[in-house]
């Protein structure tokens, strides 16, 4: 048996036999086979081979489908049946399948979550320390209304009259005020003028129980053991 030299047509013979070619291609192959004895003989051989193919028994679609698992919302599959419906249990068998890895089991998600926790914790600490509020930084602090620092509940310090009319106090009257309970400071010490601070210091010097001056320094005298332990 000789072979046709047109390999393209020979390649198309199985498709022509199985009817998988489109209309135009089918007509083309049919015309070629009609004119080519080699291809006609080969097509007949293929037809015999295909006809001699062992037949398969009819498939029981319902029985096959009964063995196919069904996905559930929880990632499990229910085995709806077995090979023989007569032998299958009345209640479905829950068969766990290889669970899909959850999103929290992925390594990069874990790392990102850890970084988020660390970042949130750090930010909360910074906010608590007012680090991120530049208006509250040293030298730029604004008077905080309502925040009253009482130096001592039992001490009442009169405010010097000289500073009442000062420009600084006129701009920020809450810097120093006389509260019923005593001298009250509101805001920051940076808001006080030099005169105000000097007045406060003078008043504090006059307070009882407070030292008027720093204690004298005691200088230790290192004596010689041979001098009998007398200090000079």
């Amino acid at each position: 048996m000789t072979e046709c030299m047109n390999e393209e047509m020979r390649d198309a013979l199985p498709d022509y036999l199985n009817g998988t070619l489109d209309g135009a291609r089918t007509a083309e192959v049919r015309a070629h086979v009609a004119a080519c004895d080699e291809c006609a003989a080969e097509l007949e051989l293929l037809r015999v081979i295909a006809a001699s193919a062992p037949s398969a028994p009819p498939m029981n679609v319902g029985r096959i489908a009964s063995a196919i698992p069904t996905p559930t919302k929880h990632g499990f599959m229910i085995h709806r049946g077995g090979r023989d419906p007569a032998q299958s249990p009345l209640s479905p068998t829950v068969v766990p399948i290889r669970a899909r890895p959850g999103i929290w089991s992925r390594r990069y998600v874990k790392i990102a979550a850890g970084l988020a926790v660390v970042t949130a914790g750090g930010l909360s600490l910074l906010v608590g320390r007012d680090v991120l509020r530049p208006e509250l930084q040293v030298g730029q602090a604004k008077p905080f209304a309502g925040a009253t620092v009482r130096t001592a509940p039992s001490v009442s310090l009169p405010v010097a009259p000289a500073k009442v009319g000062s420009t600084r106090e006129a701009q920020s009257p809450q810097v120093a005020s006389v509260a019923p309970m005593g001298l009250s400071l509101t805001g920051d010490l940076q808001e006080l003028s030099d005169e105000h601070i000097a007045t406060l210091l003078n008043e504090m010097d006059r307070m009882d129980g407070l030292p008027s001056a720093e204690p004298d320094a005691v200088e230790p005298v290192v004596g010689n053991a041979n001098s009998g332990g007398q200090n000079q």
Binding site: E42, I49, A51, S52, A53, A56, G62
Partner: protein, 184 residues
């Protein structure tokens, strides 16, 4: 979709798979209806003689249990053929281990299941099957898939994990060998 509703041709395999994933078991039944017979013929052409339906069932079960591995690069039927072929190989290896048979070729060459009527036709079929059995396993698989299953070279290459060019060469070598054997 109501239980009695027929699936339309527009419901391709991928959409049925998606419906099955959300719990529609009838989509799986439709997929079985579409491909079970082809899988049965594929198994028979590959030399399977017993428990073909069980093989087809195992193919579907394995396919649906690993449906995420189906990327849609080939047709679902081609993917099913690939799974079934591996199951067939596993089954034959198990049989060879259990029965200590001489070889797979001997088993296939000794069996003739023809569908032709008449003595002459059966004799022709017997000669053809013997000729096929004398081919190399790869040539025989390619030839059977091409002629009896009507698969394209691309599909055959996918199933056999080879190239289209190699599949084409195997086919032409196979038909040349069959012609020579039948002419002897």
């Amino acid at each position: 979709m109501n239980p009695g509703t027929q699936w339309s041709a527009e419901d391709d395999d991928k959409s049925l798979i998606e419906r099955w994933k959300v719990g529609d078991s009838r989509a799986a039944t439709e997929l079985v209806r579409r491909h079970a017979d082809a899988l049965g013929r594929f198994a028979a052409s590959g030399g399977e003689r017993e428990e073909i339906e069980e093989l087809v069932q195992d193919t579907f079960v394995r396919a649906f249990n690993s449906i995420d591995a189906f990327r849609g690069e080939s047709s679902l039927r081609t993917w099913l053929f690939t799974i079934e072929r591996r199951l067939m190989l596993d089954r034959r290896r198990a049989e060879l281990r259990e029965r200590n048979l001489v070889s797979m070729e001997g088993v296939e060459g000794s069996t003739t299941h023809d569908a032709l009527d008449g003595m002459v036709a059966r004799e022709t079929a017997t000669r053809v099957r013997r000729a096929l059995a004398s081919l190399s396993p790869m040539q025989r698989e390619v030839f059977v898939m091409r002629v009896e299953q009507g698969l394209a070279y691309a599909e055959i290459a996918t199933i056999l994990e080879t190239t289209e060019g190699a599949a084409r060469v195997h086919y032409h070598n196979a038909i040349r060998g069959v012609k020579e054997l039948l002419n002897d």
